[in-house]
Symmetry: C2
Subunit: 716 residues, 2 copies
């Protein structure tokens, strides 16, 4: 029940702080008023929930037909929670008063804070600090509150369909309160049960991360669905996500703001390929959080996962009353990588007895129009395919009457589903949603039903398989150790290739041999030492794009050309960049073509140091074929990153290329990551581009580092 | 009203043949029986549709309480259509009899034909041929029929919700009858009106293409939604698609079978990159058909297009009662490329008067909780943002009561939408579907509503923009001319690089200079003639993968090495492939690195000759970055193909590469396409890989041709 991270003694952990909100027996509504629709709705909701209510209003003696009290401190006996809807300007005073009244928890509905500008932001910060100083817990401001469907507790101005929701095992956490009703509405339409809905609003105190942490401990919750606009507590989210993985409770998240983050300008080359939203993608994936892009998929996926549990589906059988649905299922499973095993021969033989006029029973199985004539056909088919043993789940698409009781066929089928050797569910072809009659039929005849329609269900099963793999991988590793303190002396500004190479070399990263020379004669000597064609490059802290000013000569093959190349480079640099400090010319052996990788570390303002790897120079950029992960990383993580590239076949030896020594390469890249960690937040970026890989020969050919003149605080 | 393609005189065109089905006044049900649920449902549907019904049953004198006739020929007076549900074995006799009875049209419900094996396929073919020989029109076999919602005509065993559908302007055409009810069910749940639903079944006579052709002429239809498992008449589909473009009626198609086509083995390299399903993608796109992957998106997109019409949305304004929905709209528009123009300053000023406590009004516009308190706020905001002039459509997300009449705010808002300067619609956040109360509210208060939920609506608008662009492009060109007859003498088997190069050269395709030599001395002479480094390659019709047997030497720079390379190549080829006929060694100048393109023509068994272009050798394959189009093509088409590649920036001069002369390159590639057309179906494939492009220097470096020993009939 405790978080993995260490805490100051006596502090409540996130989950325990949030838990105080969820068990109030006596609630005070501050700012209750007959003129407010919100006040009336909240009051009604609390009364219906069986909670003792006190109405606080200093000016009206009776509100909603009930006698009021003028202040929180005037209430006799303990109050568990204050639901605040006073004007924004009065909220801070109310919070202070709630502290005096020793009320442990608050929900603040009032708006006009961070969302309305600078002064609101200041006020919001003050409220949050006051709450924490008083040892309280707060949801909001600018929130609607929560509904606990398991206990039928509504601390929420419940309109619009919240009463339709059935209790279940999906927790919904949202920063946008208005979305809460839309999400639960969708859930109700698809028979997806909800444990609780919690809207966190502006999050001056509790954040989505804290509520996720609470949901991990909530026995009613199996899956956590989250709508987030901003992650205000990245470290808390990562801790909660880790605990959710340990508890086997998947998190499905719709993280909005892709367009905004994608538009942020990036300082480095790697940054421009990755983009800040891709960092969010990478971090969420790393922590096993399933990221989705629409409300339907958010709630639908959570519903699927809550029903089918954490064990990944290894093989699926689909039966449908329409050949078209069978085609769609086959296409979907193929696209999503869900195996559709074929039936055993004896299963086929049994099916041909059950299904008349069948030429060959295969998966997905077309039940044809015959199902209309034979009320036992569906049940017999279900039993037969569930016995087959090749698959571990059956989905059956059949029409449930919209305004009539289920057919005998479905009633018999539902019994067969319950008795089947493996889980079997009725599904709908589309995400149309259930009528009241259909919901009633499901309940009355106890029909196992998976909501959302074929498309959402199949993608949900694919996401479950992905999640189980991420989980296995993450749990196989120890909890991320505390980040080591910086060990490398920080630099300033931009570092040239030569200086960055020295740093890499001191950290035992393998580099191509190199000599920095300051005369044509020394360049020739280096050429003779290397005994073959060489490369010459300008060395200057002021010239990062060496090619553009004629600062690079490739494949120079004789002494006269080496001397000439030296002079030409220095001359060109002095002419085109007269202000640049020139430290010499770097001479290295010219390597024959081989695989080239980009390895970059950048610093995300929110998440901290991020490692990115990609293959193939220009093509990496064109196709954005990179893999990204938060530092620190182990060599095994890097191996996973490399093999997840679309261009991974080239590393593995496709197209007659020599297979890369993946273990050695992963070690080198992980070691570069460790160097960045050792540099700490003073390092803004390091870009190693390219690393040349020829089998087990691995060498850095070029690199550059950028130091933050104002170091960012490490986010983690 | 006539198709673009020429016909035999006296033939009805596809549309007119189909049209005969849709206006029956008297229908005979053949095989009517009290024991059949299908019979009862069809009989009831016909009676309700006001159609005169005759029941044909030779054994029962009364069925469904009505006197029967024993045969079709025994019916007095003309019958417009026979609805056939006799056992499969009796259907051919029924068809013959319907011809004797001079019944122009048939719908055949009976199953047990092509779907059940070889004998069924033969029977089905015989039925189709008989129907055509008798000058009739048939839907099926194995179909349910059609519903014309505009005229309230049900020739369909209507159960499950078909009665909920409102008349409208989306035609739905499906090969799977069972899907028909699911599609119309989804439409009804989202207030999407349907003109007609037609299920085509096994298509022994009429195909989806014919029904699309009919829908183009149907005045009630504005958009055509299609579910297809197989395209049985590719030429007919292309003709109908062209007519739909001319008429401004978008076609949205869910073409199943991606997984099956993707799995087909491909004979050539290009084929393995493209895959047969990618050809379907390319053909549909080329003809302006919007391809989608789920039933929800199929029906939802058709609904959006039917409401918003053929003019593409240039700028969108979104207003929502939830900041979360605003975020999702911003992300969606960004992802889909839909412009969200910002408001003019005076609009912002007007909005700040309407919306209290607002710090800055931007698009998407958050209406906040204030909307609950002010019943005119929504109307005022809508009028203001519609007047802004930067956008040409407004979407407004607000909750319509599920079990209560609309709020005053929405009623006022609906009036403002009707009066707004630009089209404005109420939308839902999710695809949850409408309750009966909500549908009633929409009708009663005449609320302009766009169904499907935010995600489907935005993707629908993006697809509309794509469609409008394809349409403009296609209509700017004349109808594809009849394919010219083959002009090139066909070959057999596989052709070597040398022989393929001769063919290209004779067709004036630019090639790198080359000499085929048969001695080391001749190789040296060629080297001296070219005056610089050369490439040597084996010439043998039996050796297509030259590198694998040591048959290629690159960058040979002096006479001794040229002679040695010649000997080594011939020696290696003789040793490793002793059975191969060796025609000599090809010597060409060695070109410095530049952009390299793959150009391939393959033959799709269904669609005919297909041109594929891609950039970058290995990377083309890894990232499947190719563009595909049916032949013939004009140079302008090729230019579009090239610029649609993800790697197009390289062609345009990114990363310091010389920009390609796109016009010249497009001409060369179109010319290769014309050569393939001139070769006709005897050419199975030609692969030009690479074409080297350095600015305006364009040269084929290597090529190979495959001839079909049994030429495929041209599909078009």
């Amino acid at each position: 029940m405790t978080s993995s991270a260490s805490r100051a003694p006596g502090d409540l952990d996130a989950s325990a702080r949030a838990a105080r909100l969820f068990t109030p027996r006596r609630v005070a509504i501050v700012g209750a008023s007959d003129r407010s629709a919100w006040s009336r709705l909240v009051h009604e909701a609390l009364r219906r929930s069986g909670i003792v209510v006190e109405l606080v209003n200093p000016r009206a003696q009776v509100v909603h037909g009930v006698a009021t009290v003028p202040t929180l401190t005037a209430i006799d006996g303990p109050v568990d929670l204050a639901y605040v809807m006073t004007p924004a300007a009065a909220v801070l005073d109310t919070v202070v008063e709630s502290g005096q009244a020793k009320i442990p928890s608050l929900i603040v509905l009032s708006a006009g804070f961070g969302e309305s500008g600078a002064s609101g932001r200041g006020l919001e910060r003050a409220i949050g600090e006051t709450v924490r100083a008083q040892g309280q817990t707060m949801l909001g401001p600018n929130t609607l509150g929560y509904v606990n469907f398991t206990t039928n507790t509504f601390l929420y101005p419940a309109g619009n369909g919240l009463r339709d929701v059935s209790p279940g095992s999906v927790a919904l956490v949202t920063q946008s309160g208005a979305l809460g009703g839309m999400m639960t509405g969708y859930a109700a339409a698809h028979a997806i049960g909800i444990s609780f809905l919690c809207a966190t609003g502006n999050e001056a105190d509790l954040t989505v991360s804290d509520i996720i942490d609470y949901a991990v401990d909530d026995p009613a919750t199996k899956v956590i669905g989250v709508f987030a606009e901003a992650i205000r507590n990245p470290a808390g989210l990562r801790r909660a996500a880790r605990r959710a993985l340990e508890a086997g409770k998947p998190i499905v998240m719709l993280k909005a703001g892709r367009s905004e983050l994608a538009a942020r300008t990036a300082a480095t080359h790697t940054g421009s390929i990755v983009g800040d939203d891709a960092v969010v993608d990478a971090v969420l994936a790393q922590d096993g959080i399933i990221r989705v892009d629409s409300l339907e998929v958010l709630v639908g996926t959570a519903g699927v996962l809550a029903k089918v549990g954490p064990t990944p589906v290894r093989g699926l059988t689909v039966a449908a009353i329409s050949g078209g649905v069978c085609d769609l299922a086959a296409d979907g499973c193929d696209r999503l990588g869900i195996p559709l095993p074929q039936f055993r021969d004896d299963t086929r033989a049994r099916l041909s007895e059950v299904l008349p006029d069948f030429t060959g029973a295969h998966n997905p199985l077309d039940l044809t129009g015959a199902i209309v004539r034979h009320p036992r056909l569906l049940a017999d088919v279900l039993t037969t395919i569930a016995d087959d043993g090749q698959a571990d789940m059956v989905l059956c698409q059949e029409n449930l009457g919209k305004r009539s009781r289920p057919t005998e066929s479905i009633i018999n089928g539902a019994k067969a589903m319950h008795e089947a050797a493996i889980p079997a569910y009725l599904i709908s072809a589309t995400g149309e949603g259930l009528t009241e009659q259909q919901k009633q039929s499901l309940a009355e005849f106890d029909i196992p039903y998976l909501g959302g329609g074929l498309e959402i269900i199949l993608s949900g099963l694919a996401r479950q398989r992905w999640w189980a793999q991420q989980r296995r991988h993450a749990l196989a590793q120890p909890t991320t150790a505390p980040r080591p303190r910086p060990q490398v002396e920080p630099g300033r500004g931009k570092w040239s290739e030569a200086r960055t190479s020295d740093l890499l070399s001191s950290w035992s990263v393998p580099l191509v041999p190199r000599r920095v020379v300051r005369s044509a004669a020394a360049a020739v000597a280096a050429f003779e030492e290397f005994g073959g064609p060489v490369v010459l490059k300008i060395v200057s802290p002021d010239i990062l794009h060496k090619t553009e000013i004629g600062g690079v000569r490739l494949d120079v093959t004789d002494t006269a050309s080496v001397a000439a190349a030296y002079e030409a480079i220095v001359d060109s640099a002095s002419r085109l960049r007269p202000d640049a400090v020139i430290d010499g010319v770097l001479v290295s052996p010219m390597r024959p073509p081989a695989l080239e990788l980009l390895v970059g570390v950048t610093t995300d303002p929110q998440w901290g140091q991020v490692l990115t790897v990609g293959l193939g120079g220009t093509w990496t950029e064109i196709f954005k074929d990179v893999s990204t992960r938060l530092l620190p990383v182990a060599a095994g993580d890097v191996r996973t990153m490399l093999t997840s590239l679309r261009s991974a076949p080239l590393l593995l030896g496709a197209r007659n290329s020599r297979p890369a020594d993946l273990d050695a390469l992963s070690e080198v890249i992980a070691h570069i990551g460790a160097l960045a960690v050792a540099c700490g937040p003073a390092l803004s970026a390091i870009e190693v581009n390219p690393i040349r890989v020829d089998g087990s020969q691995i060498e850095v050919l070029d690199a550059v580092a950028l130091w933050a003149d104002e170091p960012l605080a490490a986010a983690l």
